[in-house]
Amino acid sequence: MKTTIQEQDNNIVAFLEGSLDTAAAAETEKTMSPLNDVADKDIIIDCTALEYISSAGLRIFLGILQNAQEKGRHVYIRGINDKVRAIFTITGFSNIFEFM
């Protein structure tokens, strides 16, 4: 599991790569924690290379979203594949996230 955070077009973009399973969740959460400090920019999570996600990964997503919404910012999800989208759909996350 590899996580990269970049600033792109005045947005913060997080690139996720690999399987975000329970084992990888703790580290990924830590890596992505700077996103919680962003107050003046929207966040884009790029899932183009995300192969798998379990509930532990979803919790990280929810945490980022709740934090951003408190600050009035948006969280966009980009490049999500069908398998991961299916998980989003089943869990109702597709209703609360905005997709690009």
Partner: protein, 823 residues
């Protein structure tokens, strides 16, 4: 006649009047009868006295006449015997006799033939009245040889003076004849030689008139008979001298007349004997068909007897007139009395008729009719008043009744609604063989009243069948409310608890805390694990269910108390293995205690018999079994009213084991870091059963969530020396993952699922794992077996069904969901 009786029955006034008049008539009759009898006796006595007096007088008079004849005759005899030698002086004597006694008929002084030599053979100085003059002639001649006459011979034969029987005296000069009787006595010379006879006659007609003139009553008459009973005097002149008093009797005997006549004549004959014997007295007898009193008495020395016949009709004529008048007065009086009584009573009862009419009006529903005020204080007035009160009360009661009826109707409507709500609470749809290949189930509930206290429920959660059957104490609305509470408590509690003992314990506490009326419910709660056929159950005072399988047996049950009154009771858990084909038959006591008209109960033995029959005929399918049982109960109960709520539920376990195709397993330490290894294992398994990539991803998430749950919650976090076993197995239908750990009991299936419809802000972190498990798999199932947590996840293969429909996992889930919703 019938109409008259009907009229009398209808009219009280007529009836009462008739009774009064009837009794008055009886009293009058008795009093008057007595009076009449006494008066009649008095009149009779009076008549006897009077007639006797008259008879005495008449007899005296007749006697005196006869006596005068005798005296005059004796005087003349003396004179004649004194001057016997002077033949012509006989004419003087004879004439003198009639001159001195003008009421004598004639007198002859007759002598023996040739007594006076110069007078020839015949000499009789005969004197007789001819009109107003007296004619004296010599009476004897060749044509009238007097010395052969009765009157001349009788005194000689008798040797004493005597009266002759009446005879006809024919007077040649005037050519007249007269019925006479004569007093004759012989004339003797000085030597005592009989020389002639002196004969003095009386006219019978004259004598009759003298005697017959005696008439004490207008229609009475007198008779006189001679020595032999010959009539001398009789109103029927034809009888005089020609008949005797005995003639009539003899005639009737000869004719052989009928008995009354003979009797009458016997009486007459007896009278005749009495009279001819010179007796005196009174007799009551029937003469010529008339009741008469006959007074009789002899007439001096003549040997004659006279009688006065007085018809009773005459004697009692006055009395009868009087009594008729009185009777008429009484009758008319009674009729008048009847008439006035009827009038008076009718008038008095008029208010009653009026009341009757008012009562009819009231009865027809017009309760506000004003009742007339009769201004009376008697019984009718009281009745009228009572009637008034009754009317008021009626109006009041009818109003109350209307209200009550309306309330009742509304309650009944409510009850109907309640009944349909209650029935709606019960599961209506039972799984068919098409729906489920592991269990078949059917239940029937028949309440004794509109709503009942019996309950049953079942639903599927994961791979488990949750079911219960219960019977609330009592019947009707209270029981039904309690039933509703019990049923919803069961649903609520069993959502989070999978162990029947826990479910019942919690239910008991919940219900006991709010049970102020000390009601209770006997309850059997079971959880059938469908993949394994393992039954966990808890029986709270309910009838033990029957197991119909290899034989008939009762499921052994611990003695737990019913639910609802001891909040702290700890209910025990029991377990049993149900084999494929076995039917669990549950029922309430409404079955065993179903009563027929003779108050006999259906009994457990019959239940067993029916179950055994079903078993022998291989008909232990839930519907068939319950159908048979219902039919048997109906047949037993017959027309008797259902005494208690009746509920039956049958659950048949029909799972067939499929052949195992593949089996793989992996044992991982309880460390989250092992998740990639787990995922690799799952991928490998999915690949071996040729699941597509999407399905594989779904399964991977589900299994990961399950294992992570175990590591996080069943084991103490941070301890990595425990292990988790993941077994994968497949048959023709599905792929199964079994996750086994030895941690503390942890059932993830009872945790509430995350609400996926909430907004980001409202969503909690957590609950997603179980949600993902449920959503991604076809079924998940938790079992605690031998100190191990056993969680099973199943995923069906996409396959072509016999109906050529593709049964996807999603479709199945929807069916499951819809069943839940119905429940």
């Amino acid at each position: 006649m019938n109409r008259i009786i009907a009229y009398i029955r209808r009219k009280l006034s007529v009836r009462v009047s008739l009774w009064v008049v009837f009794f008055a008539a009886i009293i009058f009759n008795v009093a008057l009868g007595f009076l009449f009898y006494q008066a009649r006796e008095a009149v009779r006595q009076e008549a006897i006295n009077r007639a006797t007096q008259i008879l005495d007088k008449t007899s005296l008079r007749a006697g005196s006449i006869l006596n005068r004849v005798e005296v005059a005759s004796r005087m003349t005899k003396w004179l004649v015997e004194r001057h016997i030698e002077m033949a012509d002086s006989m004419f003087v004597y004879s004439r003198g006799m009639l001159q001195n006694n003008p009421d004598f008929y004639n007198c002859s002084i007759a002598f023996e033939p040739y007594y006076f030599k110069n007078k020839g053979r015949y000499f009789s100085a005969y004197t007789k009245h001819t009109g107003d003059s007296i004619r004296t002639i010599q009476g004897g001649n060749d044509y009238y040889q007097y010395f052969y006459s009765d009157w001349y011979l009788m005194p000689q034969l008798l040797n004493k003076p005597c009266w002759t029987e009446p005879y006809v005296d024919y007077d040649v000069p005037t050519n007249t004849s007269e019925m006479v009787t004569s007093y004759c006595q012989t004339l003797n010379d000085k030597q005592g030689q009989m020389i002639g006879v002196i004969n003095t006659s009386l006219s019978i007609t004259w004598l009759s008139q003298t005697i017959l003139s005696v008439k004490p009553y207008p229609n009475s008459y007198s008779i006189m008979i001679g020595r032999g009973g010959t009539y001398f005097v009789h109103p029927d002149t034809a009888k005089i001298t020609r008949q005797t008093i005995f003639t009539q009797a003899l005639e009737s005997l000869q004719v052989g007349d009928n008995t009354p006549a003979v009797q009458a004549d016997t009486a007459l004959t007896a009278l005749g004997y009495a009279m001819t014997h010179g007796e005196e007295g009174v007799r009551q007898m029937e003469l010529n068909g008339e009741e008469c009193l006959v007074f009789y008495k002899p007439l001096g020395q003549t040997g004659c007897s006279m009688a006065i016949v007085c018809p009773e009709s005459d004697i009692f004529a006055g009395f009868d007139r009087l009594s008729h008048t009185i009777m008429t007065i009484v009758t008319v009086g009674l009729l008048l009395m009847l008439y006035f009584f009827i009038r008076i009573i009718t008038r008095e009862l008029k208010p009653l008729r009026r009341l009757a009419k008012e009562a009819e009006t009231i009865a027809s529903g017009q309760f506000n009719t004003t009742l007339p005020d009769f201004q009376r204080i008697d019984e009718i007035g009281q009745l009228s008043q009572s009637f008034g009160y009754m009317q008021q009360s009626l109006v009041k009661y009818i109003d109350e009744l209307k209200n009550t009826t309306a309330q009742k109707a509304s309650i009944e409507r409510d009850l109907q609604v309640a009944s349909s709500i209650q029935m709606g609470m019960l599961p209506e749809k039972f799984p068919t063989r098409k729906d489920r290949d592991d269990v078949q189930l059917y239940a029937a509930l028949t309440p004794a009243k509109a709503v009942g206290g019996d309950l049953f429920d079942f639903y599927f959660r994961d791979e488990k069948l949750f079911f219960c059957i219960g019977d609330v104490s009592g019947k009707g609305v209270p029981a039904s409310l309690f039933m509703a509470v019990t049923r919803s408590t069961f649903r609520t509690v069993s959502t989070h608890e999978s162990m029947p003992d826990r479910i019942v314990t919690i239910m008991n506490k919940t219900i006991a805390d709010m049970n102020k009326n000390h009601m209770f419910v006997t309850l059997f709660v079971g959880v059938l694990d469908l993949p394994t056929g393992r039954l966990r159950y808890c029986n709270a005072g309910h009838d033990a269910p029957l197991l119909v399988g290899a034989g008939i047996g009762e499921l052994s049950c611990d003695a737990n108390i019913p639910v609802g009154f001891m909040p702290k009771w700890k209910y025990s858990l029991q377990e049993a293995q149900i084999f494929t084909g076995t039917t669990i038959f549950l029922f309430t006591d409404g079955l065993t205690e179903a009563m027929n008209a003779n108050k006999a109960q259906f009994q457990m033995d019959r239940v067993r018999d029916i179950a055994f029959q079903s078993l022998t005929e291989q008909q232990q399918d839930p519907r068939l079994l319950i159908g048979r049982m219902t039919e048997a109960v109906h047949q037993f109960v017959g027309d008797a009213e259902q005494s208690d709520d009746l509920t039956m539920m049958a659950i048949q376990y029909i799972k067939q084991k499929s052949d195992l195709k593949m089996r793989k397993s992996i044992v991982l330490p309880s460390n989250l870091k092992e998740v990639p290894r787990l995922n690799a294992f799952v991928e490998e398994v999915c690949a071996s059963v040729e699941f597509d990539e999407e399905t594989t991803a779904q399964i991977k998430v589900a299994v990961e969530e399950a294992v992570v749950n175990v590591i996080k919650y069943a084991y103490t976090p941070g301890q990595h020396d425990q292990s988790v076993t993941i077994e994968a197995a497949s048959n023709t239908l599905r792929l199964k993952f079994t996750i086994i750990d030895s941690g503390k009991p942890f059932d993830p299936t009872v945790y509430s699922v995350a609400d996926t419809t909430l907004s980001a802000k409202e969503r909690r972190i957590g609950g997603l794992g179980i949600h993902l498990m449920r959503q991604n798999m076809d079924s998940i199932n938790y079992e605690r077996i031998d100190q191990l947590n056993v969680l099973t996840l199943r995923k069906k293969f996409h396959r072509i069904t016999p109906n050529n429909e593709i049964t996807s996992s999603r479709n199945n889930r929807q069916t499951e969901n819809s069943i839940k919703k119905r429940q």
